[in-house]
C-alpha cells in the first residue's frame, strides 16, 4: 500500500515521546515531552504517595512508637470500617457520583446487626439482615440516581435522612447492648495473629483494586465517569453500572457498621456522623478526582494511610479532637483545590 510519509507504528513509548509524529494540534493540551517533563509528570502523579512518605517520616520523629507493630495494628483496626467504605466510594466517585448516605447506612448496619442478634440470638442471621439492608439502601440510591436521573448529592442527602430515621424507629432510639462473645467475633477474632477487621480491610482493597483496574467492569466505570454518553453509545448498561457502585457503598457501609458494633458490643442509630466526610476525604486526599473518570483504589489506600497517620500522631501528641476536625476539613478542601488547580494548568 503506497501512502504518503506517515510512519507506521512502532512499539510506542507512553505518552508521545520526542519522536511522536504529527503531535497534538493544541500544545497547551499536548502530551508532555522531554525527560524533565516526564519526571515532573511522574512526581505529580504520585504526589500523594510522597506526602505519605514524608508524613510517616515526620511521625516516626515526633512519635517514636509510631511504626511499632502494636501501633500499626491499632491504626489499621480503627480505620478498617471507613477504609472498606472508601474502597466502594472510590467506585462511586470515579463513576461520576457521590454518596453522602454512607454514615446513615453505617448506623443502620450497626443497629440491625445488634438488634437482630438480640432478638433472635443468631449472629449469622443478623449479619445477613444487616448486609441485606445495605444492599436495599444501595439499590434504592442507584435506582433513583441512575434510572430517574436525580442528582446524586440530593438523593443521597435525602436518603441519609430516611435511613437514619428508619434506624431510630427500629431501635426505638435506644442502643442495643449485646452480650456474648459470638457478637464480638467479627471484631475480635484474630487470624494468623492479625485481627479480622484488618483482613477484611486488606481483602477489600485488593479486590477493589483488581476489579477496578483489571476487569472490563472497572474500565466501564471509568468510561461512564469520564463521558457517560460515550459509554451509552458504546452499548454499556449505564444505569446498571452506576447502580452497582451504590450497592457497593451500601453493602460496605453496613458491613463497616457491623464491624464497629461488634467491637463495641453496642448497636445504635446515632453513630456515623463523620463517616461520609471521612470516606470521601480518604478518596479525594488520595488524588481521585471528584469530577469522575479518574482515580484508583490504591490512591484511596494512600489517602487512608495519610489521614490515619495524622489522626494517630494528633492523638499521641494529645492534640484536641476539635483541632483534628479543623485539620481534616482543611486537608480535604486543599486536596480538591489542588486537583482543580492542576487541571486548570493542563488546559
Amino acid at each position: 500500500m503506497s501512502s504518503p510519509a506517515v510512519p507506521t507504528t512502532s512499539p510506542a513509548p507512553p505518552t508521545g515521546g520526542p519522536g511522536a509524529p504529527a503531535g497534538p494540534e493544541h500544545p497547551a493540551e499536548g502530551a508532555a515531552t522531554g525527560r524533565g517533563a516526564r519526571v515532573r509528570a511522574l512526581a505529580l502523579r504520585y504526589s500523594m504517595l510522597w506526602v505519605l512518605v514524608a508524613l510517616v517520616l515526620a511521625a516516626t520523629v515526633l512519635y517514636p512508637g509510631f511504626l511499632q507493630l502494636a501501633n500499626v495494628q491499632d491504626i489499621l483496626t480503627q480505620n478498617a470500617a471507613v477504609g472498606i467504605i472508601a474502597v466502594a466510594m472510590t467506585f462511586v466517585i470515579i463513576s461520576g457520583g457521590f454518596d453522602l448516605s454512607v454514615g446513615a447506612t453505617y448506623a443502620l448496619g450497626a443497629t440491625v446487626f445488634a438488634g437482630v442478634t438480640k432478638s433472635t440470638g443468631s449472629v449469622v442471621l443478623a449479619g445477613g439482615c444487616a448486609l441485606l439492608a445495605g444492599v436495599v439502601v444501595g439499590a434504592a440510591n442507584g435506582t433513583i440516581i441512575a434510572r430517574w436521573k436525580v442528582n446524586p448529592f440530593v438523593t443521597t442527602l435525602g436518603m441519609s435522612s430516611v435511613i437514619s430515621g428508619l434506624a431510630y424507629v427500629y431501635s426505638n432510639s435506644a442502643p442495643f447492648i449485646v452480650d456474648g462473645i459470638s457478637f464480638q467475633y467479627l471484631a475480635l477474632t484474630a487470624v494468623a495473629g492479625v485481627p479480622l477487621p484488618i483482613w477484611i480491610l486488606l481483602v477489600a482493597f485488593l479486590a477493589g483494586a483488581v476489579l477496578l483496574s483489571q476487569t472490563g467492569y472497572g474500565r466501564n466505570i471509568y468510561a461512564i465517569g469520564g463521558n457517560e454518553e460515550a459509554g451509552r453509545l458504546s452499548g454499556l448498561r449505564v444505569p446498571w453500572l452506576v447502580g452497582s457502585a451504590y450497592v457497593m457503598t451500601g453493602v460496605t457501609a453496613a458491613l463497616a457498621g457491623m464491624m464497629d458494633a461488634s467491637r463495641l458490643g453496642v448497636g445504635q442509630a446515632d453513630v456515623g456522623a463523620t463517616v461520609a466526610l471521612d470516606t470521601i476525604a480518604i478518596v479525594v486526599v488520595g488524588g481521585t478526582s471528584l469530577r469522575g473518570g479518574e482515580g484508583a483504589v490504591w490512591r484511596s489506600g494512600v489517602g487512608l494511610l495519610i489521614l490515619a497517620t495524622l489522626t494517630n500522631v494528633f492523638y499521641s501528641l494529645n492534640i484536641s479532637q476539635h483541632w483534628q476536625l479543623i485539620a481534616k476539613g482543611t486537608i480535604v478542601v486543599a486536596a480538591v483545590a489542588l486537583d482543580s488547580l492542576l487541571r486548570r494548568r493542563r488546559t
Binding site: M1, S3, P4, A5, V6, P7, T8, T9, S10, P11, A12, P13, P14, T15, G16, G17, A20, P21, A22, G23, P24, E25, H26, P27, A28, E29, G30, A31, V210, Q214, T215, G216, R219, N220, Y222, A223, G225, G226, N227, E229, A230, G231, R232, L233, S234, G235, L236, R237, G293, E294
Partner: protein, 542 residues
C-alpha cells in the same frame, strides 16, 4: 483498492417505481413491496436494515418523516442531503441512539424498538458517531476497546489488546501512542480512534456519521481502503457524508434526503455529482463564490516572533478587507498559531500591533476580544451553549443592550437577528435551542456570535467542517462579505480548495513554521503546489 462498486445489487429494494432519472424529486418509494413480490427467484438474504415509516419529531417539527428504506446485507449505502435534511437523525434512529417516534427499524429482521445502542450492538450493529465520543481521561487504547474489552477469565488481557491496537495502528498507518490520554490528542487523531473502535467491534453492520470530515486527505484514503476491505468481508456499511466525491466513490446505493423525507434511493450508476446536488437541493449551486478580489486597506493585525508550543517564531500581517488563508497538515501548528493570536494560549509569546499601534501580547480571550480580535473555534459544541436559543447565544457576554444591568429583550433580539441574517441564518429558527439546529445553522450562529462583538480581526478555524454544500458556499460567501465590510479575516480549513476560493493570500505551515507565502495572483496558488509545499518540509525533517 478504491472499491469501485460492483454492479448494483438486484436483490435490493428496487428503488422508486418511477425510476430515478435524476430529474428531480420522485415520490418516496415504498420499499416494503420488495422481496415478497418476487417469489420465484431464489430467496434473497434478509436485508441488513429495514426502516418502515420511520419518523422523529424535535419540538414541533419533523426532523425525519415517513422514511421507508431497505438496505441489503453486504451493501455500502450512503445517505446524503443538505443541512437539516435528517441524515444524522435517521442514522441515529438506526443506531439506537434515538428512539423513533413513528414507524420501526429492523436489523436483520429484529425490531430495534427502544432498546437503545446496547440492543443495536447486540444485533451486530456498530456505530461511529460524528460527535466524538471519546472518554477524555482514558488512554487511546482504552477508548478503542470501550464497551468491547478483551478479557480472559474476567480479567483484562492487556497484552492482547495492545497487540490488536498496534495492529490497527499499522493498518491505519498512524502512530498514536496507546497510553496517550484521549484529551491530549487532536481532533483528527480522536476521529481515527473512533473509527478504530467501530472496526474493532467487528459488527455485521457498520454505521458511520461523517467519518472523514475531521480527517486529512491521506487519512481519508486510508479510511476508504479499510472500508473497502470490510465490504469485501461482507460487512454492510451505511454512512452519512457531505463529501460527494467520497459518496460516489464508495457507495453501492445512495439515498437522498431533503427536509426530513427520503427523496430517492438508487444504485450508484444512476448518480453523478450534479444529479446528487440537484436532488439534494432542488437547484444547482456553483461550488463557491470566487471572492476577495478587491483592494485591501491599511494594516489591521501585525504579529511577529509568535511562539507557542510547536509554533516557532512566526510573523503575519493582515490588512483590513483582506482574507489570509492558513494551510498545513494536521499538527503543522496553524490552529495553535491562531489560538495564540486570540489569547487562548497562556504559554505563547510574541509582539502584536493592531491597526498600526503596538498592543500588549494577549494573555486571555478577554484581552484579545477587548482589542478587537476574536477566534471562531473549530468545535461548534464548545463555541455555543447547546440548550440556549440563537438569540441568547449571539448575545452572551455582549452588554450593549443592557440598561442599568437589565437586558432589553427587544434590542437583544433585533441585534441577534441582524447578525444572524448577515450569515444567512433563517430568522424563524432564532428561538430554537441551538442543539436542535443542523451543523450549518450552528456555524452561522457561531459566526454571528463573534461578529456581534464587532471585531477588527476574525480568526476562523475550520468554518465548513461537516456542513453541506449549500451551507458551505453561504458561509464562505459571508466571510468574503466580512472582508468587504472592512474586517481582516484569517481562516484555516483542511479543505484547501475552499481557502483558495476566498483568500487573497495563503500561508503554508509545516512543523510549526511558515514554509511559504503565496499571493492569489501567483501561478503557484493552486492545490498541487501548496500540498507539495506542506508535505515537503515534513519529509526533510525526518
Amino acid at each position: 483498492m478504491t472499491a469501485q462498486p460492483s454492479a448494483s445489487d438486484p436483490t435490493a429494494s428496487g428503488p422508486t417505481a418511477s425510476g430515478p432519472t435524476a430529474s428531480g424529486p420522485t415520490a418516496p418509494g415504498r420499499a416494503a413491496s420488495g422481496p415478497a413480490a418476487s417469489l420465484p427467484v431464489a430467496e434473497p438474504p434478509p436485508p441488513a436494515v429495514v426502516c418502515r415509516g420511520v419518523g422523529k419529531v424535535f419540538g414541533k417539527t419533523y426532523a425525519v418523516r415517513d422514511v421507508d428504506l431497505e438496505i441489503p446485507a453486504g451493501a455500502v449505502h450512503a445517505l446524503v442531503g443538505e443541512n437539516g435534511a435528517g441524515k444524522s437523525t435517521l442514522l441515529g434512529m438506526v443506531s439506537g441512539r434515538l428512539a423513533a417516534d413513528t414507524g420501526s427499524v429492523e436489523v436483520f429482521d429484529t425490531v430495534l424498538g427502544d432498546g437503545g445502542p446496547r440492543k443495536a450492538r447486540g444485533l451486530g450493529l456498530v456505530t461511529v458517531y460524528q460527535e466524538l465520543t471519546m472518554v477524555p481521561a482514558l488512554s487511546a487504547e482504552a477508548n478503542v476497546f470501550l464497551g468491547g474489552q478483551l478479557t480472559r477469565r474476567g480479567l483484562l488481557s492487556r497484552r492482547e489488546m495492545r497487540r490488536r491496537y498496534e495492529e490497527m495502528c499499522a493498518d491505519f498507518e498512524v502512530s498514536i501512542p496507546a497510553d496517550a490520554l484521549a484529551r491530549t490528542l487532536s481532533v483528527s487523531q480522536q476521529q481515527i480512534l473512533e473509527i478504530m473502535r467501530g472496526v474493532q467491534a467487528d459488527g455485521r453492520v457498520l454505521l458511520l456519521d461523517e467519518p472523514s470530515a475531521a480527517l486529512a486527505e491521506h487519512e481519508r484514503d486510508i479510511l476508504y481502503r479499510i472500508l473497502g476491505r470490510l465490504r469485501s468481508r461482507g460487512t454492510t456499511i451505511v454512512f452519512v457524508s457531505h463529501n460527494l466525491e467520497e459518496v460516489l466513490r464508495l457507495s453501492d446505493t445512495i439515498s437522498v434526503l431533503r427536509n426530513g423525507r427520503l427523496v430517492e434511493t438508487a444504485p450508484r450508476e444512476r448518480w453523478n455529482r450534479q444529479a446528487l446536488i440537484r436532488s439534494m437541493v432542488g437547484r444547482e449551486i456553483g461550488v463557491t463564490a470566487r471572492g476577495a478580489t478587491h483592494e485591501p486597506g491599511g494594516p489591521a493585525l501585525e504579529a511577529s516572533g509568535v511562539s507557542a508550543g510547536i509554533v516557532d517564531d512566526i510573523g503575519i500581517r493582515v490588512h483590513q478587507g483582506e482574507i489570509v488563508g492558513l494551510w498545513g497538515l494536521v499538527g503543522s501548528g496553524r490552529t495553535t498559531f491562531m489560538r495564540a493570536l486570540a489569547g487562548l494560549d497562556r504559554t505563547s509569546s510574541g509582539e502584536l500591533r493592531l491597526g498600526g499601534e503596538s498592543v500588549p501580547w494577549p494573555r486571555s480571550a478577554r484581552e484579545a476580544i477587548a482589542s478587537g480580535v476574536v477566534m471562531v473555534p473549530e468545535d461548534r459544541k464548545n463555541g455555543l451553549v447547546p440548550g440556549m436559543d440563537a438569540v441568547g447565544n449571539v448575545s452572551v457576554g455582549v452588554t450593549r443592550f443592557t440598561r442599568l444591568g437589565r437586558v432589553d429583550r427587544g434590542r437583544e433580539r433585533a441585534d441577534a437577528e441582524r447578525f444572524t441574517r448577515y450569515f444567512g441564518f433563517d430568522a424563524d429558527r432564532l428561538d430554537a435551542p441551538v442543539r436542535h439546529l443542523s451543523g450549518g445553522n450552528q456555524q452561522k450562529v457561531l459566526l454571528a456570535k463573534w461578529a456581534a462583538r464587532t471585531p477588527r480581526v476574525f480568526l476562523i478555524d475550520e468554518p465548513t467542517r461537516g456542513i453541506d454544500v449549500g451551507a458551505k458556499s453561504e458561509v464562505l460567501a459571508s466571510l468574503v462579505s466580512l472582508a468587504r465590510d472592512g474586517a481582516a479575516v484569517i481562516v484555516t480549513s483542511s479543505e484547501l480548495e475552499e481557502v483558495l476560493a476566498i483568500a487573497n493570500r495563503l500561508l503554508v505551515f509545516a512543523k510549526g513554521r511558515v514554509v511559504g507565502e503565496i499571493p492569489a495572483d501567483s501561478p503557484r496558488f493552486r492545490v498541487r503546489d501548496i500540498v507539495r509545499l506542506g508535505f515537503h518540509e515534513k519529509e526533510t525533517e525526518r
